[in-house]
């Protein structure tokens, strides 16, 4: 009897440890020539073209059944792509270069989002309170500035803005916090300035905030901020699928760039940005070409700030 119970117990214990949770389903199974593709994205303004392209059938017409996985953490996207949970991902170029210097096998396959290139009219900027003594980027020296991720694109481009304005970028004191917390932190005086993107940028400006640096514009002309990427494994095993995906994304980018009203409308589908904010926020640019010179600049700036373990190999990373 006792032996039977002990055996049962072993089975139950083993079972209870594995029973919790169902199987994670994998994409990329071909069914009647249609490829199921999962794309890891962040549900922000930047990825509006892919939602729009999905709606317009740019992916379906290329036999791609698209699932957009809007996980919150952008940090999960690169591991997700490498482990084949997502076939493609969306990430900013600094993060991609960090991954590349760590020899993570990924490659950019299409442009993601780019700066408008116009100071004061871009989708990302450093802002301060209306009453702040900070007037220009140079005044940021020695101040506390919030960025969404430390040692990433936010602090790199902010340092460059300060450098170009003649300030000492080494004195900047960056703190990490999620974008949605920044309006309150700024209003409350927890930080002196905030590096934000839309929609928080518009929210802060509407509350009287003042822009002191158009960081993407200062960093490089027409900076490519982010890109869609895949694993080198998928690129080798199914170059045809990758090619079709790139074409579909490119068509989506072009469509989005020329139909801003539809972009603002599609935001209602995957974000909860209210109508007023949707109609007023600054849209980025969605060029098809990755601006390689700007990525090189971003790489140089990152190296200068010491956020890479070695120099990024853009030959390997960019398409």
């Amino acid at each position: 009897m006792r032996r039977l119970l002990a055996g049962l117990a072993a089975v139950v214990l083993a079972g209870s440890l594995t029973a919790c949770g169902s199987d994670g389903d994998q994409g990329s199974t071909t069914e009647g020539g249609v490829d199921k593709v999962k794309v890891g994205i962040i549900p922000i303004l930047d990825v509006a073209p892919i939602y729009l392209g999905q709606k317009q059938g740019f992916f379906a017409s290329r036999k791609i059944e698209l699932t957009l996985e809007a996980g919150q953490g952008g940090a999960a996207i690169v591991p997700g792509v490498v482990s084949d949970q997502f076939q493609f991902g969306f990430s900013n170029l600094t993060s991609l270069m960090i991954a590349q210097t760590k020899n993570i096998p990924i490659k950019a396959v299409a442009a993601g989002v780019a700066s408008t290139g116009e100071a004061g009219k871009d989708f990302g900027a450093v802002v301060v309170n209306a009453a702040s003594p900070i007037k220009t980027a140079k005044d940021l020296a020695g101040k506390k500035i919030s960025v969404n991720t430390l040692k990433n694109i936010g602090d790199t481009v902010t340092r460059e803005s300060v450098r170009k304005a003649g300030g000492d970028p080494a004195t900047l004191n960056f703190v990490e916090m999620p974008f949605p917390n920044m309006p309150a932190a700024l209003a409350d005086g927890q930080v002196d300035a905030a590096w934000v993107v839309e929609p928080q940028l518009s929210t802060i400006k509407a509350a009287g905030g003042r822009e002191v640096a158009s960081t993407f514009v200062d960093a490089a002309p027409n900076l490519t901020v982010a890109a869609y990427f895949t694993s080198t494994k998928l690129l080798e095993s199914n170059p045809d699928l990758v090619g079709r995906f790139t074409e579909a994304v490119n068509e989506s980018l072009t469509y989005a760039d020329s139909h801003p009203d539809e972009v603002r409308a599609v935001l209602a589908d995957y974000t909860k940005i209210d109508e007023k904010l949707r109609s007023s926020l600054v849209l980025p640019k969605w060029p098809v070409q990755i601006n390689e010179a700007s990525v090189q600049t971003l790489s140089d700036l990152g190296s200068k700030d010491g956020i890479f373990t070695g120099a990024p190999d853009l030959e390997k990373l960019l398409p």
């Binding site: 009897m1 006792r2 039977l4 119970l5 002990a6 049962l8 117990a9 139950v12 214990l13 079972g15 209870s16 029973a19 919790c20 949770g21 169902s22 199987d23 994670g24 389903d25 890891g40 549900p43 922000i44 996985e69 809007a70 996980g71 919150q72 953490g73 999960a76 591991p79 997700g80 482990s83 949970q85 997502f86 999620p178 974008f179 949605p180 309006p183 309150a184 209003a187 929609p199 928080q200 929210t203 509350a207 995957y270 974000t271 909860k272 940005i273 209210d274 904010l277």
Partner: protein, 267 residues
């Protein structure tokens, strides 16, 4: 809740009335604090605006899908955890060697916060229901297991030995002696696990971005839709109250015969 002890403190008004007065007072404070300028209404909008946002949300299909996803994750996770917890508890509890063998392991694993397992969950199950389930199961399982272990330990040894001397089979001993004794503990464990499961379901959705109310909260936050965000948080609170009510009612109905329930007066 709606039960009170016979010799409790002096009662003011009907308990149900007081139960309603609590949230009403909270709503009033939430309405007045921003209106009086105590808090910036950009960051805590008045209750009326939150409720208006809730009404708008309730009119969208996405809200109900998210609510369904959260409830599914909660129910599935709780069911798996309760089933596994009861089975493991009864088996471990009735075999002293196993109990001694697992005691330190259980105490080691139990306090590990489920949230710390998020990277593992994402690696194993991606950003789908699976990863929510893993966190929910992990957290809820220990609540049930530990209660069942206590329940099994509470079995009267004389009753157990009597059953043995009457040549009750092992199954009959579990069914007629062990199970009735352990049942109130099982219910306590499941009731605790029900709340924990909800907290973990929302947390997983919020952090991982798996489908459900938690993800909607995160999206509302990222979209600067502050009233909508609070509206969704209110929904999770209401869910918690409903789940607790359900668990308590179920416990009272199913354990009506047990001393622990008979001893209470239902108002």
């Amino acid at each position: 809740m709606t039960t009170a002890r016979r010799d409790g403190p002096v009662r003011f008004g009907h308990p149900a009335l007081l139960g309603v007065a609590g949230p009403a007072g909270l709503l009033l404070v939430m309405e007045l604090a921003p209106r009086l300028g105590l808090i910036d209404d950009r960051f805590l909008p008045p209750a009326s605006r939150v409720l208006a946002a809730l009404a708008t949300e309730a009119g969208t299909a996405a809200f109900w899908t998210a609510l369904g996803d959260t409830m599914l994750a909660w129910a599935l996770g709780l069911a798996i955890a309760a089933g596994a917890g009861v089975l493991a508890g009864v088996v471990i509890g009735s075999v002293p060697v196993l109990r001694a063998l697992t005691a330190s392991t259980v105490e080691f694993l139990r306090p590990i916060p489920s949230v710390a397992l998020i990277p593992l969950a994402v690696l194993l199950y991606g950003t789908d229901l699976g990863s929510t389930l893993m966190l929910v199961c992990y957290a809820a399982f220990w609540q049930v297991l530990v209660q069942v272990l206590y329940g099994v330990a509470d079995v009267d040894p004389v009753a157990f030995e009597t059953a043995r001397s009457f040549r009750f089979s092992a199954w009959a001993r579990i069914r007629y002696v062990l199970w009735p004794t352990a049942l109130p503990y099982v219910f306590t464990g499941v009731r605790l696990a029900a709340s924990v499961a909800l907290v973990l379901a929302i947390t997983a959705e919020l952090v991982i971005g798996s489908p459900g109310l938690g993800r909607e909260i995160a999206v509302a936050q990222a979209s600067d839709a502050v009233p909508t965000m609070y509206a969704l948080i209110v929904v999770t609170g209401v869910l918690g109250v409903l789940i607790n009510l359900l668990a308590r009612t179920g416990e009272r109905r199913l354990l009506a015969w047990h001393q622990s329930v008979r001893g209470e007066v239902t108002v």
